[in-house]
Every structure is written in C-alpha cells, then in structure tokens.
Amino acid sequence: MLDVRELSCGRGGVALLSGLSLRVAAGEAVILRGPNGSGKTTLLRCLAGLSQALAGQVQVDPEAVVFSGHADGVKATLSVRENLAFWASLYGTGSHEAGLAAMDLAALADRPAQQLSAGQRRRLGLARLAVVGRKLWLLDEPTVSLDARSVGLFADMVRAHLAEGGAAVIATHLGLGLEGRELDVSAFRATEAVAAAADPFGEALT
C-alpha cells in the first residue's frame, strides 16, 4: 500500500532523514518513534505529499491517503456534526454518523466546537478519519490530551480499520495499546555529509 525507498526528506532544503525505506502492507500498522525533533512530522508530511522528497521515492496512491497532523483543523464556529459533515461531503462519502459513533461524539453532536474541551476537540479531529473512507492513515500524535477511555476508542477504531484491509502510519510518544511494527526514526538521521550533499549551496565557495 505504501512503499518508500531510500527516502531522504527534510525542512527548508536541509535533509533531516535519509536512506529511509519502509513498506506498509494492507492490514498493517507502523508506529513511528523518536525523540522530539527527530523528524516524525517531517516524514509524515513528506509521505502525505505535503512536502517533496529530497531523494528516493515514495510510492503511494494519493487517492488512498488521509493525513492528520498536530493541529486538527476543527472549525470552532461549526458544530461537531457540521465539522464532520463537511469532511464527509468533501471526500464524497455520504454519511458522517460513523465518525460520531467511532469516537463516541453522539452526545456532543450539536455543540459548537468552540465549547469542546481539549480532549473532546481532539476526538472530533480523529472522528474525521472514520468519515473520509481512505485506506492509508498518516497520523501525527493522534492521542494527545485524550483520556484513557478515548485512547481505547481510538485503538478500537484503528483495529477495525486494519481489519478492513486498511493501513496506518502513526507517530507518537505514548502507548496506544496497538500491536504494530515500531520504527525509530532517529536511526535514519541524516549525517552532516548527506545534508551537505543535498544542499545546492553545499560547495559554492569551496
């Protein structure tokens, strides 16, 4: 479903990760680990096609991907239901009820997102995944500020997704209660040499 070969990606033209290869098959979950600033978000954004790879290639069907970042585009002035309905309509998957059910938001459905607590808001952000009907989930620290029970809900949602032949790449520092292959990003940290090579101004004056 996702096939990454010798990928090197970075920020502002400077390589952060290099030589990273990764295959994710249907029904499989990969959990990205690594200390703060090791490049998890950078990698996910590259996989999602938001930033270009500096080298190597990413083989993935863009029609199959959904990305969810640190900030979970929840619109404060819209109600929970409206937020989900919007994404459902945008992705052309009719109903948003699945999302409400998945993250147990039915009780909050008609509340303006403004009036959600941090965790409730995050749940709304995650519920979006159940609504868009994409195969490959790229999630960046999904369980931030969720309580134990909601983490459970999330884990169930992911399991169900995998069971249906979906796949997920999840960057997190926390335990998710998910069995999945772990990948420590920091192992692929780009060396000074690689970074210099990727940089067009690497040898301008030398």
Binding site: A48, Q52, V65, F67, A71, G73, E82, R128
Partner: protein, 213 residues
Amino acid sequence: MIGLIARDLKMAVRAGGGFGLSLAFFLIVVVLAAFAIGPDTGALREVAPAVLWIGALLACLLSLDRMFALDWEDGSLDLLATAPLPLEGVVLAKAVAHWLTTALPLTVAAPVLGLLLNIAPEAVGWLVLGLLAGSPALSVIGAFGAALTVGLKRGGLLLSVLVLPLYVPTLIFGVALVEDRAVPTLGLLAGITLFSIAALPFAGAAALRMNLR
C-alpha cells in the same frame, strides 16, 4: 467544492460577517465619504462612482487576510491540501465565498447607495453592471494575494501592498464605465475578470503548495 463554499459562508455568517453586515459597512463608507468630502452635492456626484468602487476594494481587503490564514493556523489547510478537491478548486471556492459575502451585497445595494450619492439615474445601471462584471476579479486577485502571504502572521499590510496595485486596472475601467457608459469598457472589465478567474487560481494554488511544504 460546493461544500467548501457553503462551509465558508456559514462560518462568515456565524462570525457576524453576513450579508447585512457588508451592507452596513458600505453605508458607513458612503457616510464617511460624505463627511470627508463635504456636503455640497456637486462634488459628491463627481466622486460617487469612485466612492462605491473604493468601498468595494475596502470590503475585499478587510476580509482578505483571514481568507486562508485561519485555515492555515488551525491546520485545515494541510487537510484540504491532502483532500480529493484540488487546491485550485479550494482557491476558487474561497474566492467565490468571499465574493458572495463582500462584493455581491454591494452590487445589490449599489442603486440605493448611488441614490444617496445622487448619481445620475441613467448611470446607476452601468454602475451595477460594472460591479457585477468587475468585482469578481477583486476577490480572485485577493485570493491570490492571500495565498502568497498565508504563512506570515499579521501580513495584513503586506497583503494589501501586494494586492492593491493589481486592482488598478479593474478600478480604472470600473470608474470609467460610469462616466463613458460604453460597452467596450464593460468588455474590458469583463475581460480582466475572466482572465483573473482563468489564471489566478492556479497561481494561488501554487503559492499555497509552496507555503505548505
């Protein structure tokens, strides 16, 4: 795309950026102009089309830097960029929503406002036509500018410095139309609008992609 437009309209209304508000805004602009220029109606009639067109520019500018900035800050833009709808569509949708909430009310209200500024009755029709044909360009050009500066916090001033020069042709022809009431002028105005609608969404989408990476 319809969904996106609908969402933006809904949010604009909820945040008190609705139809009535823009009307109020234009009323104020007209009143201010009256105060600034002075009571004598002759001078007012002179500048009436100018006042209305400037009002349109203003309404655009004032709601411009929020066009993408909000979606950028709360992460929606990342999500939209990875959504099935191509970014060009997003830019266009934003522009349409923006036009519906700012320029359209003015166009509808123009006759009344024109009355306040006692424009010659026969000129009013041309004024409305001009606004209809020209104002979409303002929104699309604005969307392009907003896309350029989306990354900058409080890019408000920079945004207007980038966008206003691009407004010049529209403004010139729009005001001229009320004077000369000639179809060719209207054609030029429509031409600019069509060109902007055809070309700028691509430029805007490109700018957004560059900002997102």
